[in-house]
């Protein structure tokens, strides 16, 4: 009864009450289904077979299944993925504060760096004087 192309209704789960077609028989208990439901592995216990058999190759793609469904007059709603928007990074107030805090020690650092430079200059000058 559960062969490829058999139209079924899903009984259990979030896709319950939706029509699907068996794309591939995997096992004694499991089949691959597609159609109005999402394409997924499914237990036979969760399916109710109908009297129709669609003409589908084994392992048919989703577009082929959708075309077969349209022929029978069943609508297949496609998932529309929204175009991704580029997120602009928001400036946090806390970050700005932190930057201001950071800027203060930087000045100190610069002073520190400059001071020894002067000293070295002085030293060099003194050395020069000594030489003279």
């Amino acid at each position: 009864m559960y062969e490829t192309g058999r139209l079924c209704v899903k009984i259990a789960g979030r896709d319950a009450r939706q029509k699907c077609v068996i794309v591939e028989v995997l096992d004694d208990h499991f089949v691959m289904i597609d159609g109005q439901t999402r394409r997924r592995k499914c237990n036979i216990k969760h399916l109710e077979p109908l009297d129709k058999v669609l003409k589908i190759k084994k392992g048919a793609s989703h577009s082929e299944v959708a075309a077969a469904f349209k022929k029978e007059g069943f609508e297949v709603t496609e998932k529309k993925s929204k175009p991704k928007k580029e997120k602009t990074a928001k400036k946090r107030k806390s970050v700005e504060k932190g930057a201001a805090k950071k800027s203060i020690p930087k000045k100190e650092d610069s002073e520190k760096t400059t001071k020894p430079a002067k000293e070295t200059k002085k030293k060099t000058e003194s050395k020069d004087k000594k030489k003279k």
Partner: protein
């Protein structure tokens, strides 16, 4: 002695263990009954039993099953009904 209003059985008594080690009885308003299947009357799984103020806070998906007739019929009865619909 407890407060007079707590002496009635409208409040449920919950024993709480305090951080100091002693146990104390807290008086809490009773919770509503468990949700039941519309046809067979078995208790529904996955549906919380909370007072309305807390049910308001909870999201829709936390209060129902993600299935047609979810939150009204149990899984067995829902399956039977969907099978019936399919055969018609």
């Amino acid at each position: 002695m407890t407060e007079p209003r707590f002496r009635s059985r409208t409040f449920a008594r919950v024993k709480k263990r305090l951080p100091g080690g002693e146990t104390k009885t807290h008086y809490v308003k009773r919770k509503p009954k468990v949700a039941k299947c519309g046809t067979c009357g078995t208790s529904l799984k996955g549906i919380p039993k909370e007072r309305p103020y807390k049910m308001k806070i909870l999201g829709k998906s936390k209060k129902t099953n993600e299935r047609p007739y979810g939150g009204n019929l149990c899984s067995k009865c829902a399956r039977a009904l969907i099978k019936k619909e399919a055969r018609l």
